[in-house]
Symmetry: C2
């Protein structure tokens, strides 16, 4: 059976580990990398090395940063009384881009998932409890996913973190912006109805 040269086969295998990349796209990428200007391939290899070396998890909130503690933890203009809990580092950026939040963050590193073997001790929950002891947090805002596992994790956290003087909320579930009722599933519509508010 005819095959690619060994080093191209290894490159295809390495590219296939990337999310969303199957054999055909990995082959296309590998050929592009060996056929294009050497600077393009070398530049990508160097960028991977550099990012992998420079980027770490913030020791306090767990978001991705080159300097720990990160800018979200050290910015004195942010509100210390609000702590927003998210699953992944990228969620921090999504919330920041919404422009609607100026408190602190805490990245859990995932959500409880018995099927995938993610247990309580795999998430940064102890770190979260330590922050609640040490920082002047008055409200924990749970901003986890709205699938079954995200919901279960939210309920677990709400119960575990409950203490006098601490408000625990979660972000609203409902109809996404710019869409019609006909595109929403029943669960979303149920949440949207339950979460209805007076128009003022």
């Amino acid at each position: 059976m005819p095959e690619w040269p060994e080093s191209i086969k290894l490159l295809i295998a390495a590219l296939m580990r990337l999310p969303g990349v199957g054999r055909r796209s990995a082959e296309r990428m590998a050929l592009f990398l060996v056929e294009s200007e050497p600077e393009i391939a070398r530049g990508l290899a160097a960028a991977i090395e550099r990012a992998r070396t420079a980027v770490r998890a913030c020791e306090r909130c767990g978001s991705l940063t080159e300097d720990s503690p990160c800018v979200f933890c050290t910015d004195p203009r942010r509100d210390d009384s609000l702590l927003c809990v998210v699953e992944r580092p990228k969620d921090v950026l999504s919330l920041e881009r919404s422009g609607s939040y100026r408190g602190r963050y805490h990245v859990l590193g995932g959500r409880l998932s018995p099927l995938e073997g993610v247990e309580v001790e795999d998430l940064r929950i102890q770190e979260l409890e330590r922050r609640l002891r040490e920082e002047p947090v008055q409200e924990v805002i749970l901003a986890l996913g709205t699938d079954v596992e995200g919901e279960a994790t939210s309920h677990y956290l709400a119960k575990r973190l409950a203490r006098p003087g601490l408000r625990i909320t979660r972000i609203a579930h409902g109809l996404p912006a710019g869409t019609g009722l006909e595109y929403a599933d029943e669960l979303t519509l149920g949440h949207a109805l339950q979460g209805r508010r007076e128009i003022t």
Copy 2:
């Protein structure tokens, strides 16, 4: 505006140069690379470096290889009288996988494309003519793309390479295997009709 750390931004930009990778997939890949085991990112960087260093174009046929001349040029069991001309190195592997060809190859490096600025001198045509002088080729099989530019290149080559005693053919255009007439466009059906053969 909130942003990724500098080294992640650079990695996203480098990934976006890969074919078929837009901003969102580049972001997903970059996060995967900085969040997963260091060995995965380092392995990919090393595989890129290694392939870029080890792989070259075969000095004779232009296909991708680690040893030049390549295995297709040096295999003594292949038929020296047949020379198949293709656009890109990957076309060699496609033909090999069909299992229907045992001659030699010549990779042009593309096709004539005035719009993209690909001229006659950008393709490996002089190298092809040299091989026709030096090797015992009796038939040149043109296996270029069937779009307008591939067709134009085929016709240009057929005219330029014509010499006494040399047969110049092109691979058949027609209905792909396993499909019905209703899925074929008019041009393909036209080619299929023109290329009809007796059933023996």
